[in-house]
């Protein structure tokens, strides 16, 4: 049976759809959503491995809340750059944006270098710059070390 004929995740009346997630990244985005205190008790549906003309297979998330906070969107953009965020009102898409990671990542990731001042000075926000977007590498502004994004723990 063609995957297209299978009922997709039911439509939502109002909320956010995260679409065009490369298959496999959805579970990582779900982890980010689970850490967002603003999404506690918010219904979230998650679908995996749908057919996609653009990606081959894709994951999708539907969140029954009017908006996502900026930090959560930034975290999602780091894990899976290029995913589409659609705002849904009355079952219709009213806004659609493809998200890309910011150039300056302020207090989003924890530096892995134990000798970095950002790990040792109370209250100092971490700061990375996206030094190699293609390979998802960032450089700490303080200790100047370069890391893969997925090596670093997120700051919630």
């Amino acid at each position: 049976m063609s995957n297209k004929k299978i009922q997709m995740i039911p439509k939502i009346e109002c909320g956010i759809v995260i679409d065009h997630i490369p298959a496999g990244d959805g579970i990582r985005i779900l982890e980010i959503l689970q850490r967002d205190p603003g999404l506690k008790n918010v219904p979230i549906t998650f679908g995996m491995n749908y057919q996609s003309n653009k990606l081959g297979t894709k994951d999708m998330l539907k969140i029954q809340k009017e908006d996502l906070c900026e930090r959560t969107i930034q975290h999602i953009s780091l894990v899976s750059p290029g995913v589409t965020i659609k705002r849904i009102r009355n079952f219709e898409v009213v806004e659609k944006v493809s998200i890309q990671p910011p150039i300056d990542l302020i207090n989003l990731l924890k530096c892995l270098n134990p000798g970095c001042i950002s790990q040792n000075e109370p209250g100092l926000k971490t700061h990375f710059v996206l030094s190699d977007p293609e390979n998802k590498r960032v450089t700490c502004v303080y200790c100047e070390r370069e890391f893969f994004i997925n090596e670093l723990s997120p700051i919630i």
Partner: protein, 307 residues
């Protein structure tokens, strides 16, 4: 007046570096007696949270040579940080007393942080294993004085290439000047970190890695020796394994090019035998002398003093 911080070689263009080199050359031309009034009335805060001999004394001597004054401390134990004060509180306190802040600190990124929070210019005198830009500028000045050029030189770095901030800073600067071939001589455990080899350039950069100092001697225009730094090793057993990896002596230099120069940021332990001091290749004490000149140039640039 614009705030001129000196934090990392990353922040400097070739033109910026050239300004420091030209200023240093100009400082040397000015008789000592005529320099005494250039920074009269200015105060430099010398904040050394980590032990230092050359860098601290050289900065302080540079400030005195220019007619300025110095306040500060030479170790963290003598500060309120040892009582639990935050680093940022220390900076906000000191900025009331001085016109420029010079910082050495064992944690990487400390000078960057200080420059962000202080309205005074901040000079990085070494931050952990990260950067040592004033050493790099004096190294470049020494190289230019010896060879009249930088591009095209063949440079071998020897010793602790993993933790040595002087190597990290100088390597980045040399690549800015289009030096495109390096020999890296180190034990396996002290290799140059990979992230330092991934430098974006519009020309290919070659790193030749070897464990043998003998490979570097006939090859190089400059051999940059470093000390194996006991204090950087998390595991002292690892230090004991590699501490005597390299010892350059005068006999080994018989196969060197006549123009070879040996540089070392000092202090040395046993990596350069004393008999090398007598050879025309030894340039490390000249570096010390150039350090005093370069640090005067840096201070004059900070205060926008035209020569």
């Amino acid at each position: 007046m614009k705030k001129h911080d000196l934090i990392s070689m990353h922040d400097l263009t070739v033109d910026d570096i050239q300004i420091y080199l030209n200023t240093a050359a100009r400082v040397e031309e000015i008789p000592l007696k005529d320099r005494f009034t250039l920074l009269q009335g200015k105060i430099m805060a010398s904040l050394f949270f980590e032990a230092s001999t050359r860098t601290r004394l050289s900065f302080e001597a540079a400030m005195y040579r220019l007619g300025g004054n110095v306040i500060g401390f030479a170790e963290q134990a003598a500060t309120s940080i040892s009582k639990g004060e935050s680093f940022s509180d220390t900076i906000h306190t000191v900025e009331n007393y001085a016109d420029v802040i010079v910082i050495r600190h064992p944690k990487e990124g400390t000078s960057r942080h200080a420059a962000q929070i202080s309205y005074l210019p901040v000079i990085n005198a070494g931050d952990g294993t990260n950067q040592h830009p004033t050493q790099t500028l004096l190294d470049l000045y020494t190289i230019v004085k010896s060879f009249k050029k930088i591009e095209g030189l063949r440079i071998a770095f020897v010793g602790d290439l993993k933790y040595s901030r002087t190597v990290h800073s100088l390597l980045q600067a040399l690549i800015k000047f289009r030096v495109n071939e390096f020999m890296l001589v180190s034990p396996d455990s002290l290799c140059l970190p990979e992230y330092l080899k991934r430098i974006e350039t519009d020309f290919p950069v070659t790193f030749v890695e070897t464990r043998h100092l003998e490979d570097a001697i006939p090859y190089a225009d400059i051999i940059y020796m470093t000390r194996i730094q006991r204090e950087r090793f998390p595991d002292q057993i690892e230090y004991e394994k590699v501490k005597d990896s390299y010892c350059l002596n005068a006999k080994m230099l018989k196969v060197a090019q006549n123009t070879l120069k040996i540089l070392h940021p000092l202090p040395r332990v046993n990596e350069i035998a004393p008999d090398v001091d007598e050879t025309p290749h030894a340039e490390y004490f000249q570096q010390v002398k150039n350090g005093l000149i370069m640090r005067q140039a840096i201070l004059l640039y900070v205060f926008e003093v035209q020569l």
